[in-house]
Symmetry: none
Subunit: 263 residues, 2 copies
């Protein structure tokens, strides 16, 4: 066997083929076949499961049993999800871990918010509110008891609802905490920005309706720029990001009053 074992993508592809061919495969068999540890195989299976290629079961994987995924694979968000997915997962988890349970939580539209939504089941007593169709699908999939969607005109760019309807709905609500996504964080100027104006307006309204506001963003978002300023640091309470964040930036942030959560 050629030594391609370090090409993890190839291994995952072969696992998928095996599943397709045999209907189901056990973790044990895969460990033996590829000569890798259980941990590694499990990581593969998780990725395969998240991409919808297979369905995980206890002890292994089997062919996917849900024919049509609810979310078409070529939606922009799903592509962006490929960028630093692990960091985003950790950040999403950390954000939900911040909740005491029982709060009213606003979840923004963005891949990091999707990751947070995936963990909503950890705090099932919370009431979730979102403008994002993908977030809504994930809340539904986890059978979250109480969640609201802010309706409006659908925009494919960020898979969410905007416009007058959304603004009006947000004005009539109050949140305990909001988790906001963004495209860029400018630590020098102390601003957070996104690309789209309509989306920015919705975010501003959400921030105004929320008692506490946290940006959720991976380390790659820092010290880049984007078109529309959405908020200044003075309007925010903190940032949830990942521990790989550059130390210089961390130092600069510690000079602000922002609470920094590292996942």
């Amino acid at each position: 066997m050629p030594d391609n074992a370090h090409l993890s993508g190839l291994r995952r592809k072969k696992i998928a083929e095996l599943v397709e061919e045999r209907g189901a495969v056990a973790v044990r068999d895969l460990v033996e076949q590829f000569g890798k540890s259980e941990a590694t195989i499990r990581r593969d299976l998780r990725k395969l499961g998240e991409s919808g290629a297979v369905t995980r079961t206890h002890g292994g994987v089997m062919m996917r049993d849900t024919p049509a995924p609810d979310i078409p694979p070529d939606i922009p968000n799903e592509q962006r999800m490929q960028v630093r997915p692990d960091e985003k997962r950790r950040i999403g988890r950390a954000a939900i871990d911040m909740l005491a349970g029982g709060e009213v939580v606003f979840l923004d539209a963005g891949t990091t918010a999707l990751c947070a939504a995936d963990n909503a089941h950890l705090k099932p007593e919370c009431c979730y509110v979102t403008t994002c169709l993908g977030v809504a699908s994930r809340l539904r999939a986890q059978r979250i008891e109480r969640f609201f969607v802010i309706g409006g005109a659908y925009r494919e760019v960020n898979d969410s609802f905007t416009g007058a309807l959304a603004i009006a709905a947000l004005r009539s609500l109050s949140f305990d905490i909001a988790f906001l996504c963004c495209t860029a964080i400018d630590t020098a100027r102390g601003t957070v920005a996104v690309r789209d104006e309509a989306y920015s307006q919705v975010q501003k309204e959400a921030i105004a309706s929320s008692r506490r506001n946290f940006v959720i963003a991976d380390h790659g978002k820092f010290d880049t720029t984007a078109f529309m300023r959405t908020a200044g640091f003075e309007e925010l309470d903190g940032i949830v990001t990942n521990q790989e964040l550059n130390r210089d930036i961390l130092g600069r942030l510690s000079a602000t009053k922002l609470e920094i959560v590292l996942a």
Copy 2:
């Protein structure tokens, strides 16, 4: 062949297939076939029963019995979709075919509305509005340019949004045509009814906001009853149903001013 007997998910899937194939299976047979204890098999059957895939009986399981006249109120949309799917598909197609193109169309929450949504791409210039999460997902999947979602509190029973937020949003909109789902049509009294009060209120608001109103319902919905009256025939412009509809009922309907579309 690798021994996958310990993959519990696969075993459940195979049990479901066996039931589908043979109509009914005894616990005893399954114990023998899979070499597992009764307790384990029973746990599998419970899970399968809870997911709605099969119906449990004493001593085993049988195929999901779909009582034609009435459907339990708490079955999620995806299962209700199994009831007369072909008729619903034809009705959904016929509804969209009624559109000239360019209208603002309200799509209600219900399996028949899902079928209509699946055909939205046939009239891509229309602007669609819905209160149903599943409908929204399908519109997105077809890359419909313009669609709105009426937000609000999510209710799993009919996969849609209701409450004050939804009512307020509907009041600020006007539709050219609304396609409404229902649980029952009482031709004697000339009324259309659903099971859920919150949902009924949303429907009433949608009807009030729409210039023309059409009920979309398969022939099984006629001359049954449901709890909440949503509309009287006098508020409606027509009914889209399928050609299998009983001739007596058809005759009675032709005495009204309703436009009847047979798919």
